[in-house]
């Protein structure tokens, strides 16, 4: 076993257990593990974005794609927000980013997330091949209509709307429960995988010399 494997086992296990120590109480050991993540994420982001900027912006510009001067200048203008006097200049790159982002978002939203979803909800009822499929389709139709009713905030939820929105709430709670369950099992996977690292690398390989 080489020295780096031993260092990895000890360092990795220390960091795992230091973050886990939070279960006992918030302590400097936990904070050490947690704060390190901030620095690592920033470093990784800087490294990868630097490379991306070189590959997407600077090299093609040097190779002759003159139009890329515009985003490079705009990108530099972003930093004027650090000056109170010239901060208004940073509105130019921001407005381009917001405009493009908004345009890109609107493009497929109406068809992909509204029309196609409504179409599928209705067609599922009439194109099902068996009774169970039709039953499921009806349930989905009821759920979709009632959960949309739940999101109507311009009218008080009383009378018919109240009953329909209550049904919608039940559907949304089931959906939230499924979402919660997925998260819970995900976090469980993280715990056991990290403890498996401690078991495999530190206990079995380094301390017991097996594997």
């Amino acid at each position: 076993m080489i020295i780096w494997d031993v260092i990895a086992a000890f360092a990795g296990s220390f960091l795992t257990l230091s973050v886990l120590s939070m279960l006992w109480k918030d302590n400097p050991c936990f904070k050490f593990g947690q704060q390190g993540i901030i620095g690592i994420v920033i470093a990784n982001s800087v490294l990868v974005n630097m490379k991306s900027l070189l590959d997407t912006g600077i090299r093609p510009l040097v190779a002759g794609r003159i139009t890329l001067i515009v985003p490079l200048v705009f990108g530099v203008l972003l930093y004027t927000r650090l000056s109170k006097e010239y901060a208004w200049l940073s509105k130019y790159p921001t407005s381009m980013m917001v405009g493009v982002g908004t345009g890109v978002m609107i493009m497929g939203t109406l068809r992909g997330q509204v029309i196609d979803q409504v179409k599928k909800t209705i067609l599922d009822v009439f194109t099902a091949t068996d009774a169970m499929g039709t039953f499921n389709g009806i349930l989905i139709l009821i759920g979709t209509v009632s959960s949309i009713a739940f999101w109507i905030f311009t009218k008080e939820h009383t009378g018919g709307l109240g009953i329909v929105s209550k049904i919608g709430r039940v559907y949304l709670m089931i959906s939230l429960g499924a979402n919660w369950a997925g998260e819970h099992v995900w976090y469980l996977t993280q715990v056991l995988a990290r403890l498996a690292f401690v078991y495999d690398n530190l206990i079995m390989k380094v301390l017991l010399g097996q594997g």
Binding site: G12, T16, V19, L20, P28, G33, Q34, Q35, I37, I38, G39, A43, N44, S45, V46, N49, S52, L53, T56, T67, L72, G75, K91, P93, T94, S95, M96, G99, V100, T102, G103, V104, M105, I106, Q113, V114, Q117, T121, N136, I140, G143, T144, S146, I148, R169, Y171, L172, I174, S175, L176, G177, A178, W180, A181, E183, H184, W186, Y187, V191, R194
Partner: protein, 212 residues
């Protein structure tokens, strides 16, 4: 001056968005070229702006330090920058950058354990909060419990092994009632996003460009 400071940025915002929308509904070759250029420009601007993150992170940590000048706070400050400079040094020094074996060693053995366990600790946090959240008090809380527990059990092999019907039941929960609720949420969120998007392109959501 207000034209340059307020109106011109709004014109740029609206023009960029409308050009993309126009090309979506009426595709043309020149429209595709403009779309490719605009999106690439935006990506490049985003790349350059990433480095502002270092500045803002430094400022916020510095302010935190000024508020509580204790040894432990200095330690946390040093921890963040220590990790950051170590990762930057390894990423810049070794050939291959973030794909070098040395960088991968750091990421896989140190960062993965730290960040993975931060997610892992949330298992315990969620579990302790579930004690109160998942008590049956109403039909909604019962629905929350049933949807959550059945879908959770479906993902743990021992339970479908005990009762094989749990797998199709869990799938049914995911693909019928969850879809019923989720589809309504998707449609409403999409309509809301459309409204905000149109308001943004027509210049009525100027707060998006406020500089603080």
């Amino acid at each position: 001056m207000s034209f340059v400071k307020r109106d011109l940025p709004l014109i740029i915002l609206s023009a960029c968005g409308l050009m993309l929308l126009l090309n979506f509904f009426v595709p043309t070759d020149i429209g595709n070229v403009v779309k490719a250029e605009l999106t690439t420009w935006t990506v490049i601007i985003g790349c350059i702006g990433t480095f502002l993150g270092i500045y803002y992170m430094t400022i916020s940590q510095w302010r935190l330090l000024q508020q509580t000048k204790t040894t432990i706070q200095y330690f946390y400050f040093a921890t963040i920058f220590g990790f950051m400079f170590l990762w930057l040094a390894v990423g810049l020094y070794f050939p291959g950058g973030v794909t070098s074996p040395q960088y991968l060693w750091l990421q896989n053995n140190l960062y993965r354990n730290q960040s993975g366990m931060v997610y892992g600790v949330m298992f315990f946090t969620l579990s302790s909060s579930a004690y109160r959240t998942f008590t049956i008090r109403s039909i909604e809380s019962f629905a929350l419990l049933v949807g959550g527990v059945i879908y959770m059990l479906r993902q743990i092999p021992i339970f479908p092994a005990i009762w094989p019907g749990l797998l199709p039941l869990g799938e049914w929960i995911l693909l019928v009632p969850n879809v019923g609720g989720g589809r309504g949420a998707v449609i409403c969120a999409a309509l809301a996003a459309l409204v905000v998007g149109i308001r943004t392109l027509s210049g009525r959501e100027a707060t998006m460009m406020e500089v603080q």
